[in-house]
Amino acid sequence: MDFQANMQPELGKLEQIVHQFLLKSLHVILDSRVPLLHQHDRSGDLPMGSRVRRSDKWFNLALGDRPAALDNLSFWHRNLMDQMVIDIILVHEENGSSVETVIERWVVQYERPRVMAPQTGDITGSYKKTYKKSILLFRTLYSHMRLLPAYKIFRKLSSSSHTCNFDIIYKVSSFRDPFSRAEDVVLEEYSFTPIEAIPGRLCISVTYRTTLSDFNLECSTSLPTQIITDYVGSPLADPLRSFPVSEKGVRATSFPLRGIAPPSSAPLERPHSWTSGFHKAAPMVQNQQYVGSPPVYRAPSKPYDIPSPPTDSHGIRIHNYRMHNRHRSTSYDEYQLSPPFSPSPSPSPPTFFNSGIPIQTRVRSETAPVTIPYPMMGKSSRTLSPNLSDHSRNSLPPMSPKRNYASSQESPSGIRSFRKLESSRIGELHTGFTNNAGQKIARDNKDDSGRFSGLLSSSDSPRIGFSRSSSRLSFQDDLEDGDFSCPFDVDDVDTPDVQPSQSKDGKNAIEIGSSVPICKKSQDAAVGVLVHMLRTAPPLRQDSSCYSSHSVKPEPEGGVATASGFFMPRKTADALEELRSYKEMRDLLLSKSGTRILNKE
C-alpha cells in the first residue's frame, strides 16, 4: 500500500530518533548527577579543531564523550516502548551504617498506544517536528537538572578538592518501585511536556526530593595527595598490591562473585537493569546482588525506600557500588547485564579500601602499581608458587632475634606485621610479602594457600584469606621463639640450598650450618684415637680385678707383646696412673657407646 510504503521510512527515522532520545536523556541525566562519568571540560567553548563526535551531535547538544556502554542501548533496554527508569541514589551514613536513598527518579518513555489509530493527515515529515521539539526539550532538561537540589551535592562530590561522606550512584531499570508514604511527602514531581512522536509521544518526568538538608552530608577539603615513591603496599590494606600488573585481568573476576551464589541468579531474571559501580572501590563483593533488582531482595510488598536493605545482603551491598566500574565490565557480561559506565579503557588499577570501613572517602589519587619483584632465590631452581612446599628453605636455622629486627628495619616503609618473621631468612624484605607468606605457609605444613589462591582462583575472599594468614603469623611467632632455645637443633642442614643471593644473614646461616658437621667429626676422631690407645696399651698384670681385662685376655701375651713392640718393665705407681687414665677412657667410652660395655662387665 502506498500509505504503508510512505510510513516505513518515516517509522524507521522515528524509531531512530526515539532510540537516540532515550540514549541522550540517559546521558544528560547521568552526566549531571553521577561524578566520574566524564571528567570532561565544562567550559563550553568548542575549541578550534576539536570535533564533536557524530553520536554526540544528536539533538544539537554536545555533552562530550559518551561512554561506550551507552552506544548500545538494546542489550539492556529490550523494547523501545519500555519505560526507562533512572534512579539517582544517595549513599550516605545514618547511625553508622550506610544507607541508600533515592533522591531523584527520572522516567523516560516512548508512550505508544497499543491500538494504532488510523493516521489522518499528513504525517510525512512529522519526525522533523519531533526532532525539533526534542532539541528544545533537551535544552530544558539540561537547565532543569541544574536547578534541582541534587545538583548541589553532585557538584560537591565532583569537586576534586573535597572528600565527602556520601556518594551518588544510579540505577537504570525498566520498572519503578513505589515510594513509601513517608517519602511521598517530601517528593515532588515535574513532567516535561510530552513531545509528539507520531504514533506515540516522548515523555520525561522526574520525581525528586525537595530538600536534601535532612541528610548529614559533609565534605571536607582533603590534603593534596602525595606520591610515596617507595611505597610498598601493606598486605592488610592492599592485598593485591603484590601482584604484578598482568594479574589484573584475573583480579577482575577473582573477586567474590562466586561467593554469592543465591542472589546471583537474580540478574538473569532482570537483564534490563543495571546500576552503577563507579566508585573507587574495595575489592569486595561485586555489585550483582544489588543489581538483582529490588523485587528480588525486597519482597514485592516491601517499599523501595527502606533504608536498611535486607540484612543478608546488607553487609555486602555496602560495598557493591564501591567496586570500580572498570572491573565490573567483565563480571557483568556473565550475567547479561550491560556494563556500567566506563569512561576509558585505561588499565589503571582501582584503589582499595581497608575492609573495616564501610563508607570510604573518595581517594583522589591512586598509588602507582608497584611491581614487587619475585625473590631471586625463587627463580633459579623453583618457581615461587603460592603452594610453597619447599621445605629446604625451612631448614635454615632462624636468626637471632636481634638479627631479625635489624634486617626488618632495613626494609622500606615497614611491612610491620612481618617484622618478627623469618624475613631475614629470605634476606630481602621488599620481596618478603609473597615470600614470607610462602614461607609461613610452607612452615605451617598445612599447605594453606588461602591467601594467594583466593586471589588467583577466586575461591575465597582475599580479606578472609588474609585474616587467616594473620592468625597464622602469630603462631609462627611462637614457633620461632621456641626455636631460639636450641640454635643447632635442626633436622637437616642443607648447606648447598642456601642461595648465594642472600644477604649477610644468609651467609651467617651458612656458617652456622657448616659448623655442625665439624663438631660431629671431631667426636668420631676422638673415639677412634681412644680405641687405638686401648688396643695398643700394655697389659697390667698386677691389678687385674678392677680392670676388665677382656680386651686383653683373648689375646695371647705373645700377641700383645708383638703388637706393642715397645713393652718395658714398669713400676706400680706408673701402673696405677695408667689404670686411672684407662678408667677415664672407659668412662668416656661408656658414655658414648651406651650400655654395651657395661653389660659385658
Binding site: 565544562r42 563550553g44 547538544l61 528544545l136 535544552r139 530544558t140 537547565s143 532543569h144 541544574r146 536547578l147
Partner: protein, 218 residues
Amino acid sequence: MNCEACHLKELEVELFEIREVLRCILHSIVFHRALGLVRPKDVDLELFDITYVQCGEVELGKKIDEKIEQFVCWVEKHPNKKSQICLSFYEVKNKQASWFSNKIERLYWEQWYIYLNVAQHPKGHSSKSHHAKAVDPGEGALEDRNARSAALEASLREVLFQIIKFVNEKKDHVPPIPNLEGAVSFPYEITIPSSSDSAFGMDMIKRMLQTGHPTMLS
C-alpha cells in the same frame, strides 16, 4: 505565525546585582533558543547559589555583556526606577517596499520581558538608634541585605523555572531551525530602555513598527 510573549517575574535588585542577574536570565533564554549545535557551559553565579547554562559562544557573550553595560549606565542615570528589558526573536522577511520604505521586515515570533526594580538601599547605619537596646545598626542593615539577597535568589530561581516552563509548553511557534553555523539559529534583539523614553511601552511599540536599520546580530 503568532508572537508569543513571556513576562517574567519582577525582581528587586540592587545596582551591584544587576549584571549577574541579567547575565543569568539573558543567557538562559538564549540557551533555549539557540538551537544550533551547542556545547553547554555551566556558569556559577557568584552572588547566589545558582548555576545557569550558557551557549558557550564567545560572540554571543560579548553582545550580551555590551547590552548589560548599556543598561547599567541607564540605570545609574535613572535611579530607583522600575525598568524593563526585552529579548526578542524574529524572522527576517524580505518584503517589498511599503510605506515604511524598507525592504527588510522583521517578524517577531517571541518576546521575553524582564522586569527589574532597581533599588538602592542605604548602606551602613540604619534608623534604629532610637531603640532602647544598643543594637548595632550595621547588623540590622546586614540582616536586611541578607534577607533581600535570599529573596532575590529565590525569585531568580523562580524566573529560571518560568523560562523552562515556557519553553516546554510553547514549542509550536518556533520557526524551523535554519541550518546555520554556530549555536545561534535565530536573530535576536535585546531592547533596553533608552534615555529619551519615559514610558517603556511606547518604546516597544516603536520597535514593533519599525523596520529600521538592520540590527540583526550575526
